[in-house]
């Protein structure tokens, strides 16, 4: 079976700065894949390239079999995306933003679907508040909802739990694990290693735009290694290089 995400020598440059440097990786269907790396390692850029939000400088990538360079809209049509910075439109209410997303994505019965999310993520009392007046946590809940409203078979999430309290973090982790069990794929990027160790099945470590490692959490556990120790040793060694 073809991988859900396949990147071949993917490179992204901003002027003279290399944000992503010849990254080759593949993510299989049904994985909860974690892209790990320190701040500024290129994780967000990687998600932006994979979702067609920015064009690669070299290399190629396919997502759900769609070439991200030639059909970025096609990619965004099929996947769910949660960006690192939550930016719902300021002057629409939470309900209206989901109506807007539903209209763009042509989702039938959008309000019915949204109701379930308002309940699950516990922000029903904020549904008629303008997005600009929502707290960061509530905005993140809203962005979560918009990404899963059309039940995508693949979701790419940049720092999935960063604005959530511990109770909501637990809820979201359970949701993500359950979503993958249904046969879907989740690709998250994070620098919080505990999350990755707890929920990810596979992971890759990125540092200074270069891919240092790809493997599974199970392999690490078999070697009786903790992810944070492994991560730190790899990144430190790379810095010395």
């Amino acid at each position: 079976m073809a991988p859900v995400i396949e990147a071949r020598a993917l490179t992204k440059m901003y002027g003279d700065t290399i944000a992503v440097d010849h990254v080759t990786l593949s993510v299989e269907k049904g994985a909860l894949f974690g892209l790990l790396g320190p701040n500024g390692s290129g994780k967000t850029t990687m998600i932006k390239v994979l979702t067609g939000q920015t064009r690669q400088s070299a290399g190629s990538a396919t997502v759900l079999g769609i070439d991200v360079e030639h059909d970025p809209i096609g990619v965004r049509e099929h996947v769910g995306i949660i960006p690192e910075q939550e930016t719902p439109p300021s002057f629409l209410t939470a309900t209206e933003y989901l109506d807007f997303v539903g209209a763009i994505r042509k989702i039938p019965d959008v309000q019915k679907k949204a109701d379930g999310w308002f309940d699950l993520l516990e922000f029903d009392d904020q549904r008629d508040v303008l997005c600009k007046d929502l707290s960061r946590g509530t905005r993140q809940k809203l962005m979560f909802t918009q990404a899963f409203l059309h039940r995508p078979s693949l979701a790419l999430i940049d720092e999935p739990l960063i604005n959530f309290d511990p109770i909501m973090q637990r809820k979201v982790k359970d949701f993500l694990i359950g979503y993958v069990k249904e046969g879907n794929t989740i690709f998250i990027s994070t620098h919080i290693l505990d999350i990755a160790e707890e929920i990810c099945s596979e992971f890759a470590i990125l540092n200074r735009g270069t891919l240092l490692f790809t493997g599974t959490v199970a392999e690490l556990k078999a070697r009786d290694q903790h992810l944070d120790d492994f991560f730190l040793s790899l990144v430190r060694a790379d810095r010395h290089v």
């Binding site: 920015t54 965004r76 910075q85 300021s90 508040v129």
Partner: protein, 468 residues
């Protein structure tokens, strides 16, 4: 305070120069200088056909307008602090982390913006005129005086709008009352004493006849409203998290005749709920145009009323094209980046919302035509206004995409915009001179407008979208 000011100046420069490159942004005042320098050589030709003093009225009017465009600080309030600066972490937002009050920061911000635009626009203009003056045998004292009076004209416009917009943000009722009082007082003075615009506008009075008393009056006209506005200004709005009944779906259904109903609905709700619609119509459209009409009306002594009406339609068209910036300033591309919408679709959506907004200039020109007794020229006036507006929109879309408010400060972009728009305006003015009805041919501008829009789709679809 001075340290905050210098750091804000440095910050403002870096914001612009990092967007376009230092050289490209530094060329902006150079370009203003070149325009003023070359424009000075055209003055003798004007002098042959226009009575002395009229070009100075026009130049002062331009700087008054510039001040008006810059001065809407009062309208910004919380939006500036939260939206414009909130995500960029600029100094203007440092009241949260530093022991400085928001009012203190705001006053420094206003002074910084004033000085910044003086350096960016007024100074290069006067310098261009000064350098040209020896070639035109103009005594050096004149450019120096012009520097003073243009600065005052710019500051008068800025102070006036700063004051009015602050009052408007505080209380719409007081604002309306103030406007009615102002109009009544102006009309009474005008009718009873036959006052001219010169006598109502101290900087111009000062240009014609310098006196310390007039200078004092001119300064008072700037300082008094500015101080009152600074005192009235607040970022402390009642923290009410207002709830709204969901309108999106029903409104989108009603706007189904638009090419992209969800985008049009969002634009409409953005404009209405942000308060931008009324504010922009007042401060960026009606007030500048009323002032322009007032200043142009004095040309009726030398030009036929029909020509004035049609020239006014051209200017209305250019200002109406700025409505595109109303639609693009309330969101960034980031809002749409996780959805399956292409840049051409977004541009197209903004253009359809813009088209709906063109009802405002159309109604405005119709009212002005009837009020000015030019009903016979209503159709040419409308055609000129709308064709200029759409042509300017096309040029703006092509050059600046979804970020006109920011990218227009790139010198290369501004020069291209200026050249392309001026060529079209010049062609229409020639038609007005030959025969006012020939201006119906200006409808041909819709063709290049369409071409520029198509080019903009191709251009911006392949470009990295800036996050502003």
């Amino acid at each position: 305070m001075f340290e905050l000011f210098t750091n804000m100046m440095r910050e403002e420069w870096r914001v612009h120069s990092t967007l376009f490159g230092s050289l490209s942004f530094a060329l902006y005042p150079v370009m203003i200088f070149v325009i003023a320098f070359m424009g000075s050589f055209v003055l003798p030709f004007f002098a042959a056909g226009i009575p002395p003093g009229y070009p100075s009225i026009i130049i002062h009017a331009i700087f008054l307008l510039l001040g008006i465009m810059v001065g809407g600080f009062g309208l910004m309030g919380r939006e500036v602090m939260n939206r414009r600066f909130g995500q960029a972490s600029l100094l203007a937002y440092s009241a949260r982390s530093l022991p400085i009050t928001e009012r203190h920061i705001f006053v420094v911000f206003v002074i910084k913006d004033t000085v910044y635009y003086l350096i960016l626009c007024v100074l290069p203009f006067v310098f261009g005129f000064t350098v040209a003056s020896p070639f035109l045998h103009i005594p050096l004292a004149l450019p120096l005086l012009l520097f003073l009076t243009l600065t005052l004209a710019f500051l008068t416009g800025l102070a006036l709008i700063f004051f009015l917009s602050t009052v408007y943000a505080r209380s719409k009722h007081v604002f309306i009352l103030l406007c009615i009082c102002g109009i009544l007082a102006g009309t009474t003075l005008y009718l009873s004493h036959s006052l001219t615009p010169v006598s109502l506008f101290p900087p111009l009075q000062l240009f014609y006849l310098f006196s310390w008393e007039t200078l004092l009056v001119a300064c008072a006209v700037i300082l008094i409203p500015s101080v009152i506005a600074a005192m009235l200004f607040t970022t402390e709005f009642a923290d009410t998290t207002r709830k709204y009944k969901p309108l999106f779906t029903s409104l989108a259904r009603r706007l189904s005749f638009f090419p992209y109903p969800p985008l049009a609905t969002k634009d409409l709700l953005d404009l209405e709920r942000s308060g931008s619609f009324v504010g922009q119509v007042l401060f960026s459209f009606l007030i500048p145009l009323c002032l322009l009409w007032f200043l142009l009306s004095i040309l009726t002594r030398i030009l036929p009323a029909v020509s004035i009406l049609l020239v006014f339609s051209i200017l209305t068209g250019v200002i109406a094209a700025m409505m595109y910036t109303w639609l693009t300033m309330l969101d960034t591309f980031n809002t749409y980046s996780c959805l399956p919408i292409s840049v051409p679709t977004l541009l197209s959506g903004k253009i359809s919302s813009f088209t709906a907004l063109q009802l405002i200039p159309a109604i405005f020109i119709a009212i002005v035509s009837i009020a000015a007794g030019g009903l016979a020229y209503l159709v040419p006036a409308l055609v000129i206004c709308l064709s200029v507006s759409f042509y300017t929109l096309g040029v703006t879309c092509w050059l600046t995409g979804l970020s006109p408010n920011v990218l227009i400060y790139d010198a290369k972009v501004l020069v291209s915009w200026f050249v392309l728009v001026v060529i079209a305006l010049f062609a229409i003015i020639v038609l007005i001179v030959i025969n006012p009805f020939y201006t119906l041919a200006s409808s041909a501008l819709f063709l290049p407008a369409w071409g520029f829009v198509k080019l903009s789709y191709a251009k911006w679809n392949t470009r990295e979208q800036p996050g502003f």
